[in-house]
Amino acid sequence: MSEARKAFWEGVRAEFPLLIGVFPFGMIYGALALNAGLSTLTSQMMSAIVFAGSSQFVTAQLVHDAAPGMVIIVTIAVVNLRHMLYSASLAPYLKNLSLKWKALLSYLLTDEAYAPSVLKYEAEGVNASSHWFLFGAGLSLWSTWQVSTAIGIFLGTSIPESWSLDFALPLTFIAMVVPALKNRPMVAAALSAGAMALLAYSLPFKLGLILAALTGIAIGTVLESRQAAKGAQ
């Protein structure tokens, strides 16, 4: 048991620097979700049920824009698709665990829990207790996310309307996108998605959003393949 406990606390420690960044983010989410029109209970429960930062921000935005439920669900699915990559990447290290452990660790598998764990497993391999590392990282992130959401909701109730807090949502998205624009396919994906979103804005049910996202994904992927083909010549 002491091996397990050691691995658990090692995971918590590895997660700690990430928690400092996550805490204000959770508070912003809590305040914005409330501001977007979600109740205190739904704002908090979304952090427990969905437990995926960027899709929670996007959901808050879509609730604010009165998008239909189906569109919100499809958008959550698209935004969280990347988790399949994490799942694929960690799968070989978790293959000997029981189904219960696999399910629990999957629930806790966020960007921030994935990052330190995959580094650890790639560097040192795994033994009978190393899944406790991922559990420690994931659980400490989960607790931080719940607490920071609650504080954000609490503070959010006292922020006056005139502060235009709803604008902080697109600003949060800008802060996420801009640093990722490192090469031409990325820039093209962002610009084409944005342009299509403007053109398709009047489509019913916010379907323009999904059409625009698919356009950006397709253009980015095609350009990357073309660049790779050119480089290979």
Binding site: I28, M45, I49, V50, F51, S55, V58, T59, Q61, G69, M70, I72, I73, I76, A77, V78, V79, N80, H83, M84, S87, A88, P92, K95, A103, L105, S106, Y107, F167, L169, P170, L171, T172, F173, I174, A175, M176, V177, V178, P179, A180, M186, A189, A190, A193, G194, A195, M196, A197, L198, Y201, G208, A212, A213, G216, I217, G220, T221, E224, S225
Partner: protein, 103 residues
């Protein structure tokens, strides 16, 4: 659709994707094209939200200096580009919007 139902289905889908390949290990692999495409999901989805938020005003595209959300958004984009700092970007954009509201 009820917001609770949306959350539960959204949560189940999210869990399903996290669980998918851990569960299917050795029986299924992500095709290379999909792996590539997944990298473009965040910039595409988020830009598709950002552009109309900054440019549409009362259901019309407003490309003028009178559109303070566009101006504040440009400030935020510049701050994000140079600092790569999430909190600074949000603060700069909010501050720009509040100042422009008073002008």
């Amino acid at each position: 659709m009820n917001i609770w139902l949306v959350m539960v289905i959204g949560g189940l889908i999210t869990f399903g994707m996290r669980f998918s390949l851990i569960f299917l290990f050795g029986r299924f692999e992500i095709p290379e094209t999909m792996r590539k495409a997944l990298h473009y999901v965040p910039p595409a989805v988020l830009s598709a939200i950002i552009f109309p938020e900054l440019l549409y005003k009362a259901n019309q595209i407003d490309f003028s200096f009178g559109n303070i959300r566009l101006l504040a958004g440009i400030v935020a984009i510049l701050v994000a580009w140079y600092t790569k700092n999430t909190l600074l970007t949000i603060l700069a954009g909010m501050l720009a919007l509040l100042l422009l509201q008073f002008l």
